[in-house]
Protein backbone atom coordinates (compact mmCIF):
# COMPACT_ATOMS: atom_id res chain seq x y z
CA UNK A 1 0.00 0.00 0.00
CA UNK A 2 2.77 2.33 1.01
CA UNK A 3 4.76 1.42 -2.09
CA UNK A 4 1.86 2.05 -4.41
CA UNK A 5 1.27 5.46 -2.81
CA UNK A 6 4.93 6.35 -3.29
CA UNK A 7 4.77 5.15 -6.87
CA UNK A 8 1.69 7.29 -7.49
CA UNK A 9 3.37 10.38 -6.02
CA UNK A 10 6.49 9.80 -8.10
CA UNK A 11 4.47 9.23 -11.25
CA UNK A 12 2.34 12.32 -10.55
CA UNK A 13 5.43 14.49 -10.00
CA UNK A 14 7.06 13.25 -13.21
CA UNK A 15 3.80 13.68 -15.13
CA UNK A 16 3.33 17.20 -13.78
CA UNK A 17 6.84 18.18 -14.91
CA UNK A 18 6.30 16.66 -18.34
CA UNK A 19 2.95 18.43 -18.70
CA UNK A 20 4.42 21.83 -17.78
CA UNK A 21 7.19 21.40 -20.37
CA UNK A 22 4.68 20.15 -22.97
CA UNK A 23 2.47 23.20 -22.36
CA UNK A 24 5.42 25.53 -22.89
CA UNK A 25 6.35 23.64 -26.09
CA UNK A 26 2.72 23.69 -27.30
CA UNK A 27 2.56 27.46 -26.87
CA UNK A 28 5.68 27.90 -29.02
CA UNK A 29 4.39 25.45 -31.65
CA UNK A 30 1.10 27.32 -31.82
CA UNK A 31 2.96 30.57 -32.47
CA UNK A 32 5.09 28.89 -35.16
CA UNK A 33 2.01 27.58 -36.94
CA UNK A 34 0.22 30.96 -37.04
CA UNK A 35 -0.11 32.63 -40.44
CA UNK A 36 2.64 35.20 -40.96
CA UNK A 37 1.59 38.63 -42.20
CA UNK A 38 3.29 41.95 -42.71
CA UNK A 39 1.60 45.05 -41.32
CA UNK A 40 0.96 48.13 -43.43
CA UNK A 41 0.08 51.53 -41.98
CA UNK A 42 -2.46 53.11 -44.33
CA UNK A 43 -1.28 56.50 -45.65
CA UNK A 44 -3.37 59.67 -45.69
CA UNK A 45 -6.40 59.67 -48.00
CA UNK A 46 -6.40 61.88 -51.10
CA UNK A 47 -9.25 63.95 -52.47
CA UNK A 48 -10.02 63.34 -56.14
CA UNK A 49 -11.07 65.94 -58.71
CA UNK A 50 -14.73 64.94 -58.28
CA UNK A 51 -14.48 65.62 -54.54
CA UNK A 52 -14.48 61.98 -53.46
CA UNK A 53 -11.96 60.71 -50.92
CA UNK A 54 -9.85 57.67 -51.80
CA UNK A 55 -7.10 55.78 -50.02
CA UNK A 56 -4.20 54.32 -51.98
CA UNK A 57 -3.08 50.86 -50.82
CA UNK A 58 -0.93 48.14 -52.45
CA UNK A 59 -2.90 45.58 -54.47
CA UNK A 60 -1.64 42.93 -52.01
CA UNK A 61 -3.73 44.54 -49.25
CA UNK A 62 -7.04 43.85 -51.02
CA UNK A 63 -8.54 40.35 -50.73
CA UNK A 64 -11.73 38.69 -51.88
CA UNK A 65 -14.16 38.26 -49.00
CA UNK A 66 -16.49 35.34 -48.23
CA UNK A 67 -19.21 37.07 -50.27
CA UNK A 68 -16.88 37.42 -53.27
CA UNK A 69 -16.57 41.17 -52.82
CA UNK A 70 -13.29 43.05 -52.20
CA UNK A 71 -12.19 43.50 -48.61
CA UNK A 72 -9.13 44.42 -46.56
CA UNK A 73 -7.89 42.64 -43.44
CA UNK A 74 -7.50 45.02 -40.51
CA UNK A 75 -4.74 44.05 -38.15
CA UNK A 76 -5.93 44.37 -34.56
CA UNK A 77 -4.81 43.12 -31.17
CA UNK A 78 -6.77 41.52 -28.36
CA UNK A 79 -6.19 39.87 -25.04
CA UNK A 80 -5.61 36.15 -25.53
CA UNK A 81 -4.95 33.29 -23.16
CA UNK A 82 -1.19 33.99 -23.26
CA UNK A 83 -1.38 37.81 -23.34
CA UNK A 84 -1.80 40.22 -26.26
CA UNK A 85 -2.23 38.59 -29.65
CA UNK A 86 -2.72 39.94 -33.15
CA UNK A 87 -5.71 38.97 -35.26
CA UNK A 88 -7.29 40.06 -38.53
CA UNK A 89 -10.76 41.40 -39.11
CA UNK A 90 -12.35 41.36 -42.54
CA UNK A 91 -13.60 44.79 -43.61
CA UNK A 92 -15.55 45.18 -46.88
CA UNK A 93 -14.30 47.99 -49.12
CA UNK A 94 -15.37 49.58 -52.36
CA UNK A 95 -12.79 49.96 -55.09
CA UNK A 96 -12.61 53.32 -56.81
CA UNK A 97 -10.05 52.20 -59.37
CA UNK A 98 -6.89 50.14 -59.57
CA UNK A 99 -3.68 49.69 -61.51
CA UNK A 100 -1.04 46.95 -61.57
CA UNK A 101 0.46 47.75 -58.19
CA UNK A 102 -2.10 49.82 -56.29
CA UNK A 103 -5.79 49.89 -55.47
CA UNK A 104 -7.70 53.08 -54.64
CA UNK A 105 -10.34 52.45 -51.98
CA UNK A 106 -13.36 54.69 -51.53
CA UNK A 107 -13.28 56.30 -48.08
CA UNK A 108 -10.67 57.32 -45.58
CA UNK A 109 -8.72 54.53 -43.85
CA UNK A 110 -5.82 56.65 -42.65
CA UNK A 111 -3.95 55.37 -39.62
CA UNK A 112 -5.37 51.86 -39.81
CA UNK A 113 -3.09 48.87 -39.86
CA UNK A 114 -3.71 46.33 -42.63
CA UNK A 115 -2.40 42.80 -43.03
CA UNK A 116 -0.50 42.23 -46.28
CA UNK A 117 1.47 39.35 -47.82
CA UNK A 118 0.10 36.53 -45.63
CA UNK A 119 1.99 33.22 -45.74
CA UNK A 120 -1.36 31.40 -46.17
CA UNK A 121 -4.87 32.54 -47.17
CA UNK A 122 -6.42 34.60 -44.34
CA UNK A 123 -9.86 34.25 -42.87
CA UNK A 124 -11.87 36.63 -40.68
CA UNK A 125 -10.96 36.67 -36.96
CA UNK A 126 -7.85 34.55 -37.52
CA UNK A 127 -4.98 34.99 -35.07
CA UNK A 128 -1.77 35.91 -36.92
CA UNK A 129 1.80 36.90 -36.23
CA UNK A 130 3.70 39.76 -37.84
CA UNK A 131 6.71 38.76 -39.95
CA UNK A 132 8.76 41.66 -38.53
CA UNK A 133 8.47 40.31 -34.98
Amino acid sequence: MKNSKLFAVRAAAALFMALVLCTIAAHRIEILLLTEVRSLAVPAAVTMEDGSTVTKVPAAAVYTGRDGKPCVMRLLSREGVWGREMYVEEMPVELSHEDYNFCFLKGDFEGQSLAVYPSRPLSDDETVRCAEE
Binding site: L6, V9, R10, A13, A14, M17, V20, L21, I24, A25, R28, I29, L32, L33, L34, T35, E36, R38, A59, A60, Y100, N101, V116, Y117, S119, R120, A131, E132
Partner: protein
Amino acid sequence: MKKKNIRFLIWGIACLSLSAIFFFAAAFVTRNLKNHTPFAVELYGAQGLGVPVGKTANFTEWGSFAAAGMGEYVQAADLAETKSIPAYYQMTTPNYGEYANLHFNEGKYFPEDAAGNLAVIPESLSHELFEGEDGKKMLRINGKKFTVCGVYGEGGILTRLGSASIPVIYGNTSRDPDILAEQLLIGADAGKTALQQQQETAALMQIPLEGEINDLGRLHQLGDSILLLGFFFAGLWFVLHLCIFSYRKLMSAYQCRGQAAEKILPAILGTGAFLLAAVGFASLLQLVRIPAIYLPEDNIFDISYYGQQILNGIQQINTVSRIRDFSRICAVYLCAEAGCTIAAVPLFWAGCHGLRHWFLDKQL
Protein backbone atom coordinates in the same frame (compact mmCIF):
# COMPACT_ATOMS: atom_id res chain seq x y z
CA MET B 1 39.13 5.47 -9.04
CA LYS B 2 41.29 8.50 -9.87
CA LYS B 3 42.17 7.02 -13.27
CA LYS B 4 38.50 6.51 -14.08
CA ASN B 5 37.80 10.05 -12.98
CA ILE B 6 40.41 11.46 -15.37
CA ARG B 7 39.05 9.27 -18.15
CA PHE B 8 35.64 10.92 -17.72
CA LEU B 9 37.27 14.35 -17.87
CA ILE B 10 39.22 13.53 -21.04
CA TRP B 11 36.16 11.91 -22.63
CA GLY B 12 34.00 14.93 -21.77
CA ILE B 13 36.49 17.48 -23.11
CA ALA B 14 37.12 15.43 -26.28
CA CYS B 15 33.39 15.09 -27.02
CA LEU B 16 32.70 18.78 -26.34
CA SER B 17 35.63 19.81 -28.55
CA LEU B 18 34.40 17.58 -31.37
CA SER B 19 30.88 18.94 -30.91
CA ALA B 20 32.20 22.52 -31.10
CA ILE B 21 34.07 21.62 -34.30
CA PHE B 22 30.87 20.24 -35.85
CA PHE B 23 28.87 23.29 -34.75
CA PHE B 24 31.52 25.60 -36.24
CA ALA B 25 31.48 23.52 -39.43
CA ALA B 26 27.68 23.91 -39.62
CA ALA B 27 27.99 27.68 -39.10
CA PHE B 28 30.71 27.82 -41.77
CA VAL B 29 28.50 25.90 -44.21
CA THR B 30 25.57 28.29 -43.53
CA ARG B 31 27.81 31.30 -44.16
CA ASN B 32 29.03 29.77 -47.41
CA LEU B 33 25.47 28.95 -48.44
CA LYS B 34 24.69 32.65 -48.15
CA ASN B 35 27.90 33.66 -49.92
CA HIS B 36 27.59 31.36 -52.89
CA THR B 37 23.87 31.32 -53.63
CA PRO B 38 21.57 34.26 -54.36
CA PHE B 39 19.27 35.71 -51.71
CA ALA B 40 16.46 35.68 -54.23
CA VAL B 41 13.35 34.03 -55.54
CA GLU B 42 14.27 32.10 -58.67
CA LEU B 43 11.82 31.70 -61.52
CA TYR B 44 12.89 29.08 -64.01
CA GLY B 45 11.36 27.86 -67.23
CA ALA B 46 13.20 25.17 -69.20
CA GLN B 47 11.41 26.32 -72.37
CA GLY B 48 11.79 30.00 -71.51
CA LEU B 49 9.68 32.37 -69.42
CA GLY B 50 7.91 34.01 -72.36
CA VAL B 51 9.86 37.27 -72.23
CA PRO B 52 13.06 38.13 -74.14
CA VAL B 53 16.06 38.68 -71.89
CA GLY B 54 16.75 42.01 -73.65
CA LYS B 55 13.27 43.24 -72.70
CA THR B 56 13.66 42.31 -69.04
CA ALA B 57 16.71 44.58 -68.86
CA ASN B 58 14.35 47.57 -69.23
CA PHE B 59 12.56 46.58 -66.00
CA THR B 60 15.42 45.42 -63.81
CA GLU B 61 15.91 48.94 -62.41
CA TRP B 62 12.39 49.03 -60.91
CA GLY B 63 11.68 45.40 -60.31
CA SER B 64 14.69 44.34 -58.20
CA PHE B 65 15.45 41.34 -60.35
CA ALA B 66 18.04 40.01 -62.79
CA ALA B 67 17.53 37.74 -65.79
CA ALA B 68 19.49 35.09 -67.66
CA GLY B 69 18.63 33.87 -71.15
CA MET B 70 18.28 30.33 -72.47
CA GLY B 71 21.67 28.68 -72.20
CA GLU B 72 23.52 26.86 -74.97
CA TYR B 73 26.40 24.40 -75.10
CA VAL B 74 29.39 26.01 -76.80
CA GLN B 75 33.06 25.45 -77.46
CA ALA B 76 35.28 27.99 -75.69
CA ALA B 77 38.77 28.39 -77.11
CA ASP B 78 41.70 30.75 -76.81
CA LEU B 79 42.25 33.25 -79.63
CA ALA B 80 44.69 31.00 -81.49
CA GLU B 81 42.25 28.10 -81.00
CA THR B 82 44.98 25.85 -79.64
CA LYS B 83 42.83 24.79 -76.67
CA SER B 84 39.11 24.15 -76.90
CA ILE B 85 36.87 23.35 -73.95
CA PRO B 86 33.13 22.58 -73.89
CA ALA B 87 31.21 25.18 -71.87
CA TYR B 88 27.71 26.48 -71.21
CA TYR B 89 26.93 30.02 -72.35
CA GLN B 90 24.14 32.23 -71.00
CA MET B 91 23.29 35.82 -71.83
CA THR B 92 22.33 37.88 -68.78
CA THR B 93 21.30 41.35 -67.69
CA PRO B 94 24.16 43.51 -66.33
CA ASN B 95 23.00 43.13 -62.71
CA TYR B 96 22.97 39.30 -62.83
CA GLY B 97 26.43 38.97 -61.22
CA GLU B 98 25.28 40.91 -58.17
CA TYR B 99 22.06 38.88 -57.80
CA ALA B 100 23.78 35.52 -58.38
CA ASN B 101 26.33 36.41 -55.69
CA LEU B 102 29.33 35.89 -57.97
CA HIS B 103 32.69 36.64 -56.35
CA PHE B 104 35.30 38.00 -58.70
CA ASN B 105 38.98 37.07 -58.66
CA GLU B 106 39.70 39.38 -61.57
CA GLY B 107 37.75 42.20 -63.17
CA LYS B 108 34.01 42.55 -62.61
CA TYR B 109 30.64 41.85 -64.20
CA PHE B 110 30.00 43.76 -67.43
CA PRO B 111 28.56 47.27 -66.97
CA GLU B 112 25.12 48.44 -68.14
CA ASP B 113 26.52 50.35 -71.12
CA ALA B 114 28.60 47.38 -72.27
CA ALA B 115 29.10 47.26 -76.01
CA GLY B 116 30.53 44.43 -78.08
CA ASN B 117 30.87 40.83 -77.00
CA LEU B 118 31.82 40.64 -73.35
CA ALA B 119 32.08 37.48 -71.26
CA VAL B 120 32.46 36.61 -67.61
CA ILE B 121 34.19 33.27 -67.19
CA PRO B 122 34.82 30.91 -64.26
CA GLU B 123 38.20 30.50 -62.62
CA SER B 124 38.67 26.93 -63.94
CA LEU B 125 38.18 28.00 -67.56
CA SER B 126 40.54 30.94 -67.09
CA HIS B 127 43.23 28.55 -65.77
CA GLU B 128 42.79 26.16 -68.67
CA LEU B 129 42.75 28.77 -71.43
CA PHE B 130 45.02 31.51 -70.09
CA GLU B 131 47.47 29.75 -67.79
CA GLY B 132 50.49 32.03 -67.30
CA GLU B 133 49.14 34.78 -69.57
CA ASP B 134 48.95 38.41 -68.44
CA GLY B 135 47.02 41.37 -69.79
CA LYS B 136 43.73 41.51 -71.64
CA LYS B 137 42.08 38.13 -71.99
CA MET B 138 40.17 37.25 -75.15
CA LEU B 139 38.54 34.01 -76.14
CA ARG B 140 36.46 32.52 -78.91
CA ILE B 141 33.00 31.11 -78.21
CA ASN B 142 31.88 28.98 -81.15
CA GLY B 143 34.44 30.86 -83.20
CA LYS B 144 33.28 34.40 -82.23
CA LYS B 145 35.64 36.74 -80.42
CA PHE B 146 34.78 37.76 -76.84
CA THR B 147 36.60 39.99 -74.38
CA VAL B 148 36.81 38.63 -70.85
CA CYS B 149 35.75 41.36 -68.42
CA GLY B 150 35.69 39.26 -65.25
CA VAL B 151 36.78 35.95 -63.79
CA TYR B 152 34.59 34.60 -60.98
CA GLY B 153 35.39 32.06 -58.29
CA GLU B 154 33.37 28.85 -58.45
CA GLY B 155 33.01 28.43 -54.69
CA GLY B 156 34.06 25.59 -52.44
CA ILE B 157 33.63 21.85 -52.71
CA LEU B 158 29.92 21.95 -51.78
CA THR B 159 29.14 24.43 -54.57
CA ARG B 160 31.00 22.21 -57.02
CA LEU B 161 29.14 19.15 -55.74
CA GLY B 162 25.84 20.90 -56.40
CA SER B 163 26.86 22.20 -59.84
CA ALA B 164 27.45 20.38 -63.08
CA SER B 165 31.17 20.08 -63.93
CA ILE B 166 30.88 22.13 -67.11
CA PRO B 167 32.11 25.77 -66.88
CA VAL B 168 29.40 28.45 -67.19
CA ILE B 169 30.14 31.60 -69.20
CA TYR B 170 27.93 34.66 -68.78
CA GLY B 171 27.67 37.13 -71.65
CA ASN B 172 25.95 40.46 -72.24
CA THR B 173 22.74 40.68 -74.22
CA SER B 174 24.10 42.68 -77.16
CA ARG B 175 24.60 39.55 -79.27
CA ASP B 176 20.99 38.40 -79.34
CA PRO B 177 18.63 40.45 -77.13
CA ASP B 178 15.58 38.55 -78.42
CA ILE B 179 16.54 35.23 -76.85
CA LEU B 180 13.99 34.13 -74.26
CA ALA B 181 14.75 34.50 -70.55
CA GLU B 182 15.22 31.14 -68.86
CA GLN B 183 15.75 32.34 -65.30
CA LEU B 184 14.76 35.38 -63.26
CA LEU B 185 16.33 36.12 -59.89
CA ILE B 186 14.00 38.37 -57.90
CA GLY B 187 15.51 39.96 -54.77
CA ALA B 188 13.97 38.10 -51.80
CA ASP B 189 11.75 40.02 -49.41
CA ALA B 190 11.28 38.36 -46.00
CA GLY B 191 7.69 39.57 -45.67
CA LYS B 192 6.43 38.27 -49.02
CA THR B 193 5.92 34.77 -50.29
CA ALA B 194 7.67 33.65 -53.47
CA LEU B 195 4.34 33.50 -55.32
CA GLN B 196 3.51 37.11 -54.38
CA GLN B 197 6.89 38.28 -55.64
CA GLN B 198 6.39 36.35 -58.87
CA GLN B 199 2.96 37.98 -59.34
CA GLU B 200 4.35 41.45 -58.65
CA THR B 201 7.13 40.97 -61.20
CA ALA B 202 4.62 39.66 -63.74
CA ALA B 203 2.42 42.71 -63.09
CA LEU B 204 5.40 45.03 -63.54
CA MET B 205 6.34 43.50 -66.90
CA GLN B 206 2.68 43.01 -67.84
CA ILE B 207 3.23 39.43 -68.99
CA PRO B 208 2.29 36.13 -67.37
CA LEU B 209 5.40 34.52 -65.85
CA GLU B 210 4.91 30.81 -65.50
CA GLY B 211 7.65 28.49 -64.40
CA GLU B 212 9.25 26.68 -61.51
CA ILE B 213 9.57 28.88 -58.39
CA ASN B 214 12.49 28.31 -56.02
CA ASP B 215 12.56 30.48 -52.92
CA LEU B 216 16.30 30.61 -52.29
CA GLY B 217 15.91 33.41 -49.72
CA ARG B 218 13.81 31.09 -47.53
CA LEU B 219 16.47 28.37 -47.96
CA HIS B 220 19.00 30.83 -46.47
CA GLN B 221 16.63 31.28 -43.53
CA LEU B 222 16.30 27.50 -43.27
CA GLY B 223 20.10 27.27 -43.01
CA ASP B 224 20.03 29.57 -39.95
CA SER B 225 17.06 27.64 -38.53
CA ILE B 226 18.86 24.27 -38.73
CA LEU B 227 21.85 25.67 -36.82
CA LEU B 228 19.59 27.22 -34.17
CA LEU B 229 17.65 23.94 -33.93
CA GLY B 230 20.98 22.22 -33.20
CA PHE B 231 21.65 24.66 -30.35
CA PHE B 232 18.13 24.02 -29.06
CA PHE B 233 18.62 20.24 -28.93
CA ALA B 234 22.06 20.67 -27.34
CA GLY B 235 20.60 22.98 -24.68
CA LEU B 236 17.91 20.42 -23.84
CA TRP B 237 20.57 18.49 -21.88
CA PHE B 238 20.61 21.21 -19.22
CA VAL B 239 16.81 21.34 -19.06
CA LEU B 240 16.60 17.56 -18.69
CA HIS B 241 19.19 17.44 -15.92
CA LEU B 242 17.62 20.36 -14.10
CA CYS B 243 14.32 18.47 -14.21
CA ILE B 244 15.99 15.29 -12.88
CA PHE B 245 17.67 17.27 -10.09
CA SER B 246 14.40 18.97 -9.24
CA TYR B 247 12.52 15.64 -9.22
CA ARG B 248 15.07 14.05 -6.86
CA LYS B 249 14.97 16.99 -4.47
CA LEU B 250 11.17 17.06 -4.43
CA MET B 251 11.02 13.31 -3.81
CA SER B 252 13.58 13.52 -1.03
CA ALA B 253 11.51 16.30 0.56
CA TYR B 254 8.42 14.10 0.32
CA GLN B 255 10.16 11.03 1.75
CA CYS B 256 12.00 12.91 4.51
CA ARG B 257 10.90 11.59 7.88
CA GLY B 258 12.42 14.44 9.85
CA GLN B 259 10.85 17.68 10.96
CA ALA B 260 9.15 20.11 8.59
CA ALA B 261 12.18 22.41 8.67
CA GLU B 262 14.33 19.62 7.17
CA LYS B 263 11.92 19.22 4.28
CA ILE B 264 11.91 22.90 3.36
CA LEU B 265 15.41 23.14 1.89
CA PRO B 266 15.10 20.25 -0.63
CA ALA B 267 11.56 21.38 -1.48
CA ILE B 268 12.74 24.94 -2.21
CA LEU B 269 15.74 23.63 -4.16
CA GLY B 270 13.52 21.28 -6.17
CA THR B 271 10.91 23.93 -6.95
CA GLY B 272 13.58 26.50 -7.83
CA ALA B 273 15.38 24.08 -10.14
CA PHE B 274 12.13 23.18 -11.87
CA LEU B 275 11.21 26.85 -12.36
CA LEU B 276 14.68 27.45 -13.78
CA ALA B 277 14.22 24.45 -16.10
CA ALA B 278 10.83 25.77 -17.28
CA VAL B 279 12.19 29.28 -17.92
CA GLY B 280 15.28 27.82 -19.62
CA PHE B 281 13.10 25.59 -21.81
CA ALA B 282 10.89 28.54 -22.79
CA SER B 283 14.00 30.58 -23.67
CA LEU B 284 15.53 27.68 -25.61
CA LEU B 285 12.32 27.33 -27.61
CA GLN B 286 12.92 30.84 -28.98
CA LEU B 287 15.75 29.25 -30.98
CA VAL B 288 13.22 27.21 -32.96
CA ARG B 289 12.54 29.56 -35.86
CA ILE B 290 11.60 27.45 -38.84
CA PRO B 291 10.01 29.59 -41.60
CA ALA B 292 6.22 29.04 -41.76
CA ILE B 293 6.38 27.74 -45.33
CA TYR B 294 8.44 24.72 -44.24
CA LEU B 295 5.93 23.70 -41.60
CA PRO B 296 2.74 21.72 -42.17
CA GLU B 297 -0.42 23.83 -41.96
CA ASP B 298 -2.19 22.23 -39.00
CA ASN B 299 -0.24 19.42 -37.42
CA ILE B 300 3.42 20.05 -36.58
CA PHE B 301 3.91 16.30 -35.98
CA ASP B 302 2.88 15.42 -39.54
CA ILE B 303 5.73 12.99 -40.23
CA SER B 304 4.67 12.31 -43.83
CA TYR B 305 4.98 16.03 -44.60
CA TYR B 306 8.58 16.17 -43.34
CA GLY B 307 9.35 12.93 -45.15
CA GLN B 308 8.07 14.46 -48.39
CA GLN B 309 10.18 17.61 -47.83
CA ILE B 310 13.34 15.53 -47.25
CA LEU B 311 12.53 13.41 -50.30
CA ASN B 312 12.12 16.59 -52.39
CA GLY B 313 15.53 17.79 -51.19
CA ILE B 314 17.16 14.47 -52.14
CA GLN B 315 15.46 14.54 -55.54
CA GLN B 316 16.68 18.12 -56.01
CA ILE B 317 20.27 16.99 -55.40
CA ASN B 318 19.92 14.14 -57.88
CA THR B 319 18.42 16.31 -60.63
CA VAL B 320 20.80 16.57 -63.55
CA SER B 321 18.69 18.54 -65.99
CA ARG B 322 20.17 21.96 -65.24
CA ILE B 323 23.70 23.25 -65.39
CA ARG B 324 23.76 25.83 -62.62
CA ASP B 325 20.83 24.99 -60.39
CA PHE B 326 20.97 27.16 -57.28
CA SER B 327 18.33 25.16 -55.45
CA ARG B 328 20.42 22.01 -55.93
CA ILE B 329 23.48 23.83 -54.60
CA CYS B 330 21.37 25.00 -51.62
CA ALA B 331 20.15 21.43 -51.03
CA VAL B 332 23.76 20.17 -50.90
CA TYR B 333 24.73 22.89 -48.43
CA LEU B 334 21.66 22.24 -46.26
CA CYS B 335 22.30 18.47 -46.21
CA ALA B 336 25.92 19.08 -45.19
CA GLU B 337 24.82 21.51 -42.49
CA ALA B 338 22.13 19.15 -41.18
CA GLY B 339 24.73 16.32 -41.08
CA CYS B 340 27.17 18.46 -39.05
CA THR B 341 24.40 19.53 -36.66
CA ILE B 342 23.12 15.96 -36.20
CA ALA B 343 26.68 14.85 -35.35
CA ALA B 344 27.28 17.82 -33.01
CA VAL B 345 24.23 17.35 -30.77
CA PRO B 346 24.89 13.78 -29.45
CA LEU B 347 28.56 14.66 -29.03
CA PHE B 348 27.56 17.66 -26.94
CA TRP B 349 25.32 15.45 -24.79
CA ALA B 350 28.08 12.85 -24.40
CA GLY B 351 30.59 15.57 -23.48
CA CYS B 352 28.29 17.12 -20.86
CA HIS B 353 27.54 13.65 -19.49
CA GLY B 354 31.26 12.87 -19.18
CA LEU B 355 32.01 16.15 -17.42
CA ARG B 356 29.06 15.63 -15.08
CA HIS B 357 30.40 12.19 -14.10
CA TRP B 358 33.87 13.62 -13.57
CA PHE B 359 32.43 16.38 -11.39
CA LEU B 360 30.26 14.02 -9.32
CA ASP B 361 33.13 11.49 -8.86
CA LYS B 362 35.41 14.32 -7.75
CA GLN B 363 32.88 15.33 -5.12
CA LEU B 364 32.87 11.79 -3.75
